[in-house]
């Protein structure tokens, strides 16, 4: 396919879609499917057929629309009218929608989401712009929405250096959590010596509670592929890998299907879009190891080995897969590339704050009314996210903490609700941006138990290679276990702090280095809870079963001297 054909295909698909008076978009992402989405789509198909509306109404299986806890979600698109979002659709409601809304134009208000709902209105969708709008299994739909235009422009109008500079000017920072300047990384790989280079997309998304990358890969796989291809051109690579964690089989399938579809159209493979650029992308599947989200461990896993990190330097930009310069970025980062190249670096830099540009996708979950995926500009306050977009805490309970960054992050208490969400502000509070998991906790959560949960996770997922992490996480877990069951002493708290310092400073990789973060964060903001457990033998949230007592330091046992 060449540039002219790209436009022709896109226009043809757009005309075809315009030909329908009404389009029913049914979310076919994992959460909606498991809430009965398939039977809803079937009910629509049957109803459309029965009313003889096949030529006027199109049913499209799309990706994630956002409010996952209210699924199955259906969007009704009509020519010349605003979209209507229906929630918790069943087969019966589907028939109602066809009979009343599609045929007579009467919106079924009882089941519709209010059009001015903050969840719908306050988001700024860039990366998820196509999610919930296009059919992820049809490349034509992606093309109709300016798909592969950015790649076309890059290949024919820009040099690799210009692409890298655009990245630097856009201010995009890695969306995997660390926030490393993307343009800087691309330049490092571009300048690295050697003629064989690789591009890797990190789709491991191990943080429990985070599923932004899954939604992006399932809902708009071509967006990711286009970003990887542009990156390949920019750094001089000819081979890309998307590493998808084993828990996301649908995402892996959709990516593979998308790759084949793109190759068939000359949008991937040899001589892409009639240029001299060749680029292949392969999908590699993980097998259930959180540590494989760490870049060096991920590369070991792609090479078919145990996913154990290796010391850096050398960084992947110098020596990565099979010793060659490798660019690794998160899937969400690649999702931002095509819009930046299409609309310009300045456009992207105009969104967000001074040091954190653009938007971020968050997976809002936990004790909150509207759980689901949201994409907001950097700098929006936590209060706005939790109470406006999120709808606040259900059951009239009080907000206690927001956990960001998963097991590598920390908790933000109520008195910091007005913090803008960006890389620097969250770091100052002792947390990190992380990949985007945002878990809201109400007063029923015990912060000691939460810290213990994350420590157990880290201990479980530790690869075992370095002593500080392998042993340190277990020891910290044991102390936290004793705090929560009532047998800890004040001395244990000090040991815990010492261990936090030791593990974070001497661990080989990010897993160990950030494992103490939830503990440090809860000690900082919820020290009273720890103290209540230890000195008052009481769990303030009323959750912990405190059925043990501390071992007393009797003089004749010499325990104090042994410790």
């Amino acid at each position: 396919m060449n540039s002219a054909e790209l436009e022709t295909f896109a226009q043809r698909e757009r005309d075809k879609q315009q030909g329908f008076r009404c389009r029913l978009l049914c979310c076919a992402s994992t959460p909606c499917l498991s809430s009965g989405g398939a039977s809803v789509a079937a009910a629509f198909a049957a109803a459309i057929k029965r009313h003889g509306l096949d030529a006027e109404v199109q049913i499209v299986a799309t990706g994630c629309m956002g409010p996952c806890s209210r699924g199955p979600i259906v969007t009704v698109q009509e020519q010349g009218k605003p979209d209507t979002f229906y929630e918790e659709v069943t087969a019966i409601i589907a028939e109602q929608i066809v009979a009343e809304h599609v045929i007579h134009g009467q919106v079924q208000q009882a089941h519709a989401l209010p059009a001015d709902m903050p969840f719908l209105v306050k988001q700024h969708k860039i990366v998820l712009a196509n999610s919930g709008v296009i059919d992820p299994e049809r490349i034509e739909d992606y093309l109709a929405h300016d798909g592969y235009r950015a790649l076309d422009k890059v290949l024919h109008e820009l040099t690799p250096e210009e692409v890298c500079n655009a990245m630097v000017q856009s201010g995009l920072r890695g969306r995997g959590g660390a926030g490393y300047p993307t343009g800087l990384k691309w330049n490092l790989v571009r300048k690295a010596a050697g003629d064989k280079k690789y591009v890797v997309a990190n789709g491991d998304e191990g943080d429990p509670g985070a599923y932004m990358d899954r939604a992006l890969m399932e809902s708009d796989p071509h967006r990711v592929l286009e970003g990887i291809a542009i990156a390949g051109y920019a750094v001089g690579a000819d081979q890309g890998f998307v590493y998808v964690r084993g828990e996301y089989p649908i995402a892996a399938q959709r990516l593979e299907k998308a790759i084949r579809a793109a190759e068939r159209r000359g949008l991937l493979g040899s001589r892409i879009l009639d240029s001299n650029f060749n680029f292949r992308i392969d999908v590699r599947i993980g097998a259930g190891a959180f540590v494989c989200g760490e870049e060096t461990a991920l590369m070991q896993s792609i090479m078919g080995r145990r996913g154990q990190p290796v010391p850096r330097p050398p960084y992947p930009a110098q020596s990565g897969l099979w010793g060659k310069p490798t660019l690794i970025n998160n899937v969400e980062t690649y999702g931002s590339i095509a819009p930046i190249m299409r609309n310009g670096a300045a456009w992207f830099a105009g969104i967000g704050t001074e040091k954190s540009k653009g938007t971020k996708i968050f997976a809002l979950a936990g004790n909150i009314k509207n759980t689901g995926l949201i994409e907001v500009p950097m700098g929006m306050t936590l209060r706005e996210i939790v109470f406006d977009i999120g709808g606040g805490i259900p059951d009239g309970l009080a907000f206690k903490a927001a956990q960001t960054g998963g097991p590598s992050g920390g908790c933000i208490p109520a008195h910091h609700l007005d913090t803008p969400v960006d890389y620097e502000s969250l770091k100052a509070l002792g947390s990190i941006m992380g990949s985007g998991g945002l878990i809201i906790m109400d007063e029923r959560s015990c912060m000691v138990k939460i810290a213990k949960y994350f420590m157990e996770f880290c201990a479980d997922e530790s690869c075992g290679k370095c002593v500080p992490c392998r042993v340190g996480t277990v020891q910290m877990y044991r102390i936290l276990d004793r705090v929560s069951n009532g047998s800890a002493t004040v001395a244990d708290l000090q040991t815990l702090r010492d261990l936090c310092g030791l593990v974070s400073e001497t661990s080989l990789c990010g897993l160990g280095q950030s494992a103490p973060n939830p503990v440090l964060s809860t000690l900082r903001y919820f020290l009273d809870e720890y103290e209540a457990h230890i000195t008052e033998h009481r769990c303030p949230a009323g959750v912990c079963e405190m059925n043990a007592v501390p071992i007393w330091d009797l003089p004749q046992t010499r325990r104090a001297e042994l410790m």
Partner: protein
């Protein structure tokens, strides 16, 4: 021993077409091997196929894969034991995975595990003695909007309480279909 950066050896002539045991499932593994041209980097993909075909990775399977990819058996064993997905023990007829990701945990998923543990007298990672049920936990399945989530024989069921989870598992073990919404 190859170090972290050595490109391992690649293709060579494919092995004979049928496994001596006559088990046709080995052909599924062979197909994956051919798809990846017998490259040693494809070990994880091959082990995935093997586990899907046979249900678990027996010693026989590990030896076969090692032989086909010309890798030391210890290497293959090391990879198989490193990743949570791979099971070296036979799984039960039915499989229940309870998600213990943060969002599910905050919604008391641990109580679901406790309920199932009590009812079937097995801990997560174990199979009942009559090989009917395997109980596993996962660290996040990516359906946090439906927390707490269990996966019962591949079917994702959201918003479960301990009572509902127990009921669903009992239905499935009694060879009825799990009850899903809609």
């Amino acid at each position: 021993m190859p170090d972290a950066n050595t490109q391992l050896k690649t293709a060579r002539a494919p092995a004979k077409t049928e496994h001596p045991s006559g088990d046709k499932r080995f052909q599924l593994i062979d197909r994956t091997l051919k798809r990846f041209q017998y490259q040693q980097d494809a070990l994880i993909e091959v082990l995935h196929t093997a586990q899907e075909a046979f249900g678990f990775l027996s010693d026989d399977l590990l030896l076969y894969v090692a032989q086909q990819l010309k890798l030391p058996t210890s290497w293959v064993y090391g990879v198989a034991t490193f990743y949570h997905f791979f099971s070296l023990k036979p799984q039960g007829e039915h499989n229940c995975i309870v998600c213990l990701g943060t969002a599910c945990y905050v919604k008391q998923a641990a109580d679901i595990v406790a309920a199932l543990q009590k009812a079937y007298a097995i801990a997560p990672g174990q199979t009942t003695r009559d090989h009917q049920l395997s109980l596993n936990t996962a660290r996040c399945l990516g359906s946090c909007g439906l927390a707490p989530v269990i996966v019962l024989d591949g079917t994702v069921i959201g918003r479960v309480t301990p009572a509902v989870a127990l009921d669903q598992v009992q239905r499935v073990v009694a060879n009825m279909q799990p009850e899903t919404v809609g």
